[in-house]
Symmetry: C2
Subunit: 116 residues, 2 copies
């Protein structure tokens, strides 16, 4: 997903967190907790498991999140922000604040909604 790593800062940022789902996934991890795959599918019912798993893999490859896989049956996998991922908090916070600003008050969100 990373493209054109040189030249322009915004191009770089878009390379990491561009796309429809990545910022939304990252916001689910903002509070620092580890979150299970299944919980993410519940919080984001409009993203298919295939795409979610794909996006999580890219985020992990780019070093923004860490995947913890416990060798249990049935399996348990948890995701959390990496240290690099935590440096994105100001970006995600700015996006979150802007989206709230422009919303009608009754639509203003919380940090833990079901995302549609």
């Amino acid at each position: 997903m990373l493209q054109n790593p040189e030249n322009c800062a915004v191009v770089r940022t878009v390379g990491y967190i561009g796309g429809k789902w990545k910022p939304i996934i990252l916001v689910r991890l903002l509070n620092g907790e580890k979150v299970r795959f299944g919980k993410l599918t519940v919080q984001m019912p409009d993203i298919s498991r295939k795409i979610l798993s794909q996006q999580l893999k890219e985020l992990e490859e780019d070093g923004l999140i860490i995947r913890h896989s416990y060798m249990e049956k049935p399996p348990r996998v948890e995701y959390e922000l990496s240290e690099l991922g935590k440096t994105l908090i100001p970006v995600l916070k700015a996006m979150y604040d802007w989206g709230n600003q422009i919303a009608a008050p009754e639509h203003k969100g919380t940090w833990d909604p079901i995302v549609r």
Copy 2:
């Protein structure tokens, strides 16, 4: 381009500035000046004129930029941030700063580069 206007602030923000080119276009307008279509094509040689024109139209429809068309021959068209667009400055600045942070020092950008 606007999708799911309710429920989640980040989903809303991505609806406005998601996509490969929109944040990059908006950064070209950050300084408040009116910029001609042709200058944008020079600053962003990797975006085709068709896509640039398409994205500018969407940004205008979403109220983030203003299109000034002067009835001259050959034509002159200028774009600038709207008041709503200016409220995005913290978001764009955060994206720009993050992209610079993670770059090797020799790749750190200026506010007026050719974007690749």
